[in-house]
């Protein structure tokens, strides 16, 4: 292992970001349900209350609207709260505080106030969980002016993006794929690391097809790209979006200008999902390079169907490969 690097899973990497940001800045604090003594139901805030005390790592009463609503108030005073919502499926109970207030205070007060705050929440399927514990709702937040929306795809990005989100002067919704929490470990630098928000990353270079993915779907895209290379001799470029809003339109256009074909993969339902915006952005930025329509591989337009049917709903490599072959043959 490289010096100054440690192999961490995504839970530990997120915990490292929180720990280092709290150490760096006494205005950073954490609040949410079970985040203190218990360290969060996924252990992302493990041991932070012991290190920083119960005034900085707050076991709040069970009420999402007030968790976000009080965080708005704290941020208006100059604190930098990081809220944890236990599951993204419960965040509709604080959606009004996010949309009506966190996203708008800078505009409403004409720059006098801003909400430097992060709302973290686990999202997505693949963990055999019940309704409201497996959904992907990034499209709602990505649509709101005044917000930023981030979804890391692995430990190193998660750590660097969370640190950047905490330092960002605007409110950031930070989605963490449950399926990735304890999945692959990555080498993460021990020293603080930041990644800029709003920038996508080329995860794999290729010249035949661009697959746009983020969060847990990056693994699916990688698996599909391996098969396409081995069986079809296709060189797939994978774009890891990382930030959903503001979306990196420049990177999308540049990649498709090179490949001429694009495929978007996401866990959210298809209609009005991020894939629509990505497709429009590609059309606006690289229309003359397009050799085929932009293809979307997504969950279907159904409410979460229960984990016994989840495999049929959430995109997997087979669906991505089939869609890629269709796009390539167009």
């Amino acid at each position: 292992m490289a010096a100054g690097m440690t192999k961490l899973n995504m839970v530990k990497a997120l915990n490292l970001a929180l720990q280092q940001e709290m150490e760096r800045d006494p205005d950073v604090l954490v609040l949410g349900e079970d985040v203190g003594v218990d360290g969060g139901v996924f252990r992302v805030t493990d041991d932070l209350q012991r290190q920083f005390g119960s005034r900085r790592v707050i076991d709040s009463p069970l009420a999402e609207a007030a968790i976000v609503g009080t965080a708005v108030g704290m941020s208006l005073y100059g604190l930098k709260p990081v809220c944890e919502i236990q599951f993204s499926g419960f965040a509709f109970q604080c959606f009004h505080q996010i949309e009506n207030h966190a996203a708008r205070y800078r505009q409403r007060s004409q720059g006098r106030f801003n909400c430097q705050m992060v709302v973290r929440m686990p999202y997505g399927g693949g963990v055999r969980a019940l309704e409201h514990h497996s959904e992907s709702e990034e499209q709602f937040y990505a649509h709101i002016p005044g917000l930023k929306m981030v979804i890391p795809s692995g430990p190193r990005a998660a750590r660097a993006l969370l640190a950047a989100a905490i330092r960002d002067p605007d409110p950031v919704i930070f989605f963490e794929a449950k399926a990735l929490y304890h999945a692959a470990k990555e080498e993460v630098p021990d020293a603080p690391e930041l990644m800029p928000l709003g920038q996508a990353r080329i995860d794999r270079e290729g010249r035949d097809l661009t697959i746009v993915a983020y969060g847990a779907m990056l693994r699916v895209a990688r698996e599909a790209a391996e098969t396409l290379a081995a069986e079809d001799g296709v060189e797939t470029e994978i774009m890891d979006l990382l930030t959903i809003a503001p979306i990196d339109r420049t990177a999308l256009a540049a990649s498709v200008a090179k490949t001429g074909r694009a495929l978007v993969v996401h866990e959210a339902p298809r209609s009005f999902g991020p894939g629509a915006e990505i497709a429009a952005s590609i059309m606006e930025g690289a229309f003359l390079s397009l050799e085929a329509p932009v293809h979307r591989v997504t969950a279907y337009d159904v409410p979460f169907p229960g984990f016994a049917r989840e495999k049929a709903n959430v995109p997997d490599a087979a669906r991505v490969i089939a869609a890629a072959r269709e796009t390539l043959a167009y």
């Binding site: 009463p61 005073y77 800078r106 007060s109």
Partner: protein
């Protein structure tokens, strides 16, 4: 096992010091200097006269829809008067008198109700949040501010306002609960004006008082005669002192009455009787306070003319403000605009280039209704 009484000590007090007939409970009379009493009266008169002027401005199409305060001057001024400038005020949308006392300029309030974003910007030294329109959603913000005050070890107090309708909202209850658990320096002031648009209090809650809702959260609650500025002041002073001393939050229910319309787009004759309104007009907070001041030989003559001149000058300044630069809408959504937003701004700038400059003022534009209102012409 028998049933046992767990909480026999619950009590709800109602505080009244100066009644509608001018009777004064001398033992409870707060200690306010003659200068403070004059300031308080002037701020209440300013609130009333500005309110009347704003209704006329709205009828003439010179400002948009707004929520008049007529009848609630004592409820909001008796409470806001107890704050230091360094304390925080968290308004809803019917606190014009208190907001002006706190330092918002009249022209800024007029700009706000004319749809100018500039009307929502507090001065750099002001510890005041702008108007909050979604009912009750400001209450958790006040609790967060109070948490931050406590966290930093400052000695400020946060005062948050809402109406009786807001006490049905989840955010109201969540805010009280968090405030109780965190024991933070916040004072909640409910201006119970009896009507949430067309819905009377008895359809809003089955509780005998709003004050008692505090008790469920382990927070002291008190009901005051909200048209008695001395009682509102006394109760607020006690609550602010308690908060500043580190002894936690308080809920004050100020029982008052909205003498006017819910907003300028509302027609209250549809849902309440003239007799009811007339009965409350006899309890007018201004008449009562003026009589008290006169009894104490505190000159109040000339206050109306004085505030009218201040209002006229502010209206003139407001009307001199031209139409806002459309590009201003791109200035503050983010600290630094994303590239795509800059492109949208450029698109608008391009479209505006070559167009005639916008005419000044917003005259002749139809007022836009707020939440739940119909446009009526009376």
């Amino acid at each position: 096992m028998p049933r046992t009484i767990l909480e026999p000590r619950i009590k709800i007090e109602h505080l009244s010091i100066l009644d509608a007939d001018g009777n004064l409970d001398v033992a409870l009379e707060p200690t306010l200097t003659p200068e403070e009493l004059r300031q308080l009266y002037r701020a209440m008169v300013l609130g009333r006269r500005l309110d009347e002027r704003m209704v006329r401005l709205q009828r003439q199409g010179r400002i948009g829809t707004f929520a008049p305060i007529k009848g609630q001057e004592a409820a909001q001024m008796g409470s806001a008067f107890t704050l230091r400038p360094t304390d925080w005020m968290v308004p809803s949308f019917r606190e014009t008198a208190a907001m002006i006392w706190r330092g918002w300029s009249i022209e800024k309030m007029l700009l706000f109700f004319s749809g100018h974003l500039e009307g929502g910007q507090p001065g750099p030294e002001q510890h005041d949040l702008p108007v909050c329109i979604p009912v009750g959603t400001q209450m958790p913000h006040a609790v967060g501010l109070a948490y931050a005050v406590q966290y930093r070890g400052d000695d400020s107090v946060v005062m948050a306002y809402c109406g009786d309708g807001a006490t049905s909202e989840g955010d109201f209850h969540e805010a009280l609960n968090f405030a109780g658990v965190w024991h933070v320096p916040v004072v909640f002031v409910v201006q119970n004006n009896q009507w949430a648009i067309s819905v009377p209090l008895k359809k809003q809650t089955n509780s005998a008082t709003i004050a008692q809702k505090a008790l469920a959260y382990g927070v002291p609650g008190i009901q005051v005669d909200g048209n008695d500025v001395l009682a509102v002041y006394a109760a607020s002073h006690e609550a602010v002192d308690r908060a500043r001393a580190g002894d936690g939050p308080t809920l004050i229910e100020a029982v008052t009455y909205r003498l006017g319309v819910h907003t300028t787009a509302d027609d209250p004759t549809k849902y309440r009787s003239d007799e009811e309104v007339k009965a409350w007009e006899r309890k007018d907070p201004l008449t009562r306070f003026k009589a008290y001041l006169e009894k104490r030989n505190l000159a109040v003559a000339g206050v109306e003319a004085d505030v009218d001149a201040e209002i006229a000058a502010a209206v003139a300044r407001f009307e001199a403000v031209g139409a806002p630069d459309p590009l201003g809408m791109f200035a503050h959504p983010y600290a630094a605009p994303p590239a795509a937003l800059e492109a949208q701004r450029d698109e608008v700038a391009e479209r505006l280039r070559g167009q005639a400059p916008p005419r000044s003022g917003g005259e002749g534009e139809a007022p836009v209704p707020m939440r739940g209102q119909r446009i009526t012409r009376r």
